[in-house]
Amino acid sequence: MKGGQALIKSLIDKGADTVFGYPGGQLLPLYDMIYDSDLKHILVRHEQCAAHAADGYARASGKVGVCIATSGPGATNLVTGIATAYMDSSPVLSIAGQVPTHLIGNDAFQEVDMIGITMPITKHNFQVTDANDIPAIVNSSFEIALSGRPGPIVIDLPKDIQEQELEEYRNESVEIPGYKPTKKGHGLQIKRAAKTIIKSKKPVILAGGGVISAGASKELKKLSKLINAPVTTTLLGKSSFPEDSPVSMGMLGMHGRKVANLSVDECDCLIALGCRFSDRTTGKIDEFAPNAIIIHIDVDPAEIGKNVDVDVPIVGDAKIVLQSLIKMLEKDSAPINTLKWIEHIKEFNKSCIPRISFENDLPLKPQQVMKELAQALDEETIMTTDVGQNQMWMAHFYNTQKPRTFISSGGLGTMGFGFPAAMGAKVAMPENDVVAVCGDGGFLMVCQDLATVKEYDIPVVVCVLDNRYLGMVAQWQKLFYDERMSHTHLGEVPDFVKLAESFGVRAERVEKVGDTEKALKDALKSGEPTLIDIIIDPEEILPMVPPGCGLTEIVGEYKIEREIPGEIHYKQTKNTHEGGD
């Protein structure tokens, strides 16, 4: 057996049913071996899409997503995708070709130091120097990628190693003495957390992506119910808790819902689960949850105390820690003091439900588009987004109910993520509908992969929210830069419908109220990949907390579905901020 064959066998043994890749000179031996193998390979049209597709595959399924690219430019094209996966703790395995070992370091044709380049954006990386190590390296890569805090792995595979004969295929793992992720939380700390929770009168749960990767949604619901705590999420935590619930407050942070931002400001106990307190979530750190005792549960010890000072730190897997915590809370017979709080939140929540019905407005309001998306899609549908306004509208206005149904580039904020991630998600979960919501700017960065969805018949639906602006940057220019719209208008081309049709992809333009819903239903019924070009109002702005401000300082007015005048007397939001940073 040769090195390349060993790689393929190891991948298949580890359950990698599909890989996304793009061949090249230094991968010729491997691709020659793929030709005869059972490995399902999807030829993307740009390596970046291979990495994002593997990421979408991983986030939708919870399995490792695999991508392959050749040495040099192929490998560097993966880099954005790998960094995206790293920031969002997604288990992506990238296999990069490399020049033959005797040429490494000679600046050979298409040589790049992929190990050096990806060191800061991978959980770990390996350069294979002996084909006999391949099974162990692949096995370890899967273990490392999925365990503890998940993350991307790179395997750098020189050409000669792909052809080297193995002495023996040994199905083993590399021993890594320096890697022992903590799963079970510290008993005493969990006890302290339980005591704090019992004493608290106004608890809030903040759920992050760790809840989803640990599969702890059930436990999260149980905890919320047990202690009467409303739940807010980070962007990556979205879909960890059913957002139709009256105690779901939606997303927290710069573009969070008012109820979430103000409740975190008011709460006396914040239970943060599997999140890392990014600046987009906390706003000004000194003003974050000023009245709360903070309990932070995370599998990565380095995240605890990194951004926010924590009162009760618990290192461990969200699911396992929550199970122990719930057990401890259930045993305790202390009276519950939180009924008043949860009733208050429910009422407050009702008064903050964002208005999504804009049936008399043209061009279409994005909120109306979100409403029609919700009407056309079921709760099993996996949504992916790009980055920018489209992403925040989705986060804000589109309610998700089940874990792993909302996939978005949070940490790195990668434009062009949505469409290829949807492609990967659909390959991983063929039974679910998959819809990508993109901006016109982001989609154009990856539009060449319409060829991939067509060739492989991957029936994703791409909704391009088309306002001819780089909307989020334009929004900041409007709010903080005197409306000087420097290079954010995208002009009049392309015609997205014709673009899609040139790839043989079904396409439709939507300009009227009600048509988004219809177009989506038709697209899903057709079973074909479809692009829907939705012309939206470029003027629409989402209220936001300016950078460097506390979470209660919201600029812009939230449009509310139902006002309850006089019933709720809540802290007024300040509207005084000028300028941003």
Partner: protein
């Protein structure tokens, strides 16, 4: 100088609470130093020196990092180092309970017999040894803590130091304790 690794050996202030001696056991294989050094740069941690060499265990190297930063920074450094898969163990050694030594080679301009004997006397006072001698220069090897080495180099400056090579400190806990 946030974000820059200062590989310059400078006198550490032993009284400062912000001085830390981090001892780490790491896998002895290519790329490990790059991972550690890269981590410091990327996270904006300041380090004064790194030394690395074999440890008592085969295949495992010991790294001694002299770094500056308050408790919070140190906690992050330790945690981030621990996250590297090639790093097996990390400890912040207590400054007062640690023996710390550095090796230094100094090539001094010594054109005459008189100058040479003078330099040799200084070297002897500092328990240094002469490891190379020629008509133009003497090379002294000296081991000790950083202050001792600084003191000798200050004395020798008058003769003209042609070349100086310091290893940066390596360290260990006093007594029977290991990391």
């Amino acid at each position: 100088m946030k974000g820059v690794i200062k590989m310059v050996m400078k006198t550490e202030n032993p009284d400062s609470e912000n001085n830390h001696i981090i001892s780490a056991l790491v896998e002895h294989k290519p790329g490990v130093l790059q991972r550690v050094a890269g981590l410091f740069t990327r996270r904006g941690f300041n380090i004064d020196s790194i030394t690395v060499g074999e440890s008592e265990i085969q295949g495992i190297a010991r790294m001694t990092i002299i770094a500056q930063g308050d408790e919070k920074v140190l906690e992050q450094v330790t945690k981030q180092l621990n996250k590297l898969l090639d790093v097996i163990k990390v400890r912040d050694l207590e400054v007062e309970n640690t023996v710390k030594r550095e090796l230094c080679l100094i090539k001094v301009h010594a054109p005459t017999e008189k100058v040479r004997s003078e330099i040799i006397q200084y070297a002897n006072i500092f328990r240094g040894s002469i490891i190379d001698v020629s008509n133009e220069a003497l090379t002294i090897e000296i081991t000790g803590d950083s202050d001792k080495i600084n003191a000798l180099t200050d004395l020798l400056k008058g003769f003209g130091i042609k070349e100086l090579a310091r290893t940066g400190p390596t360290a260990m806990s006093r007594g029977g304790k290991t990391i």
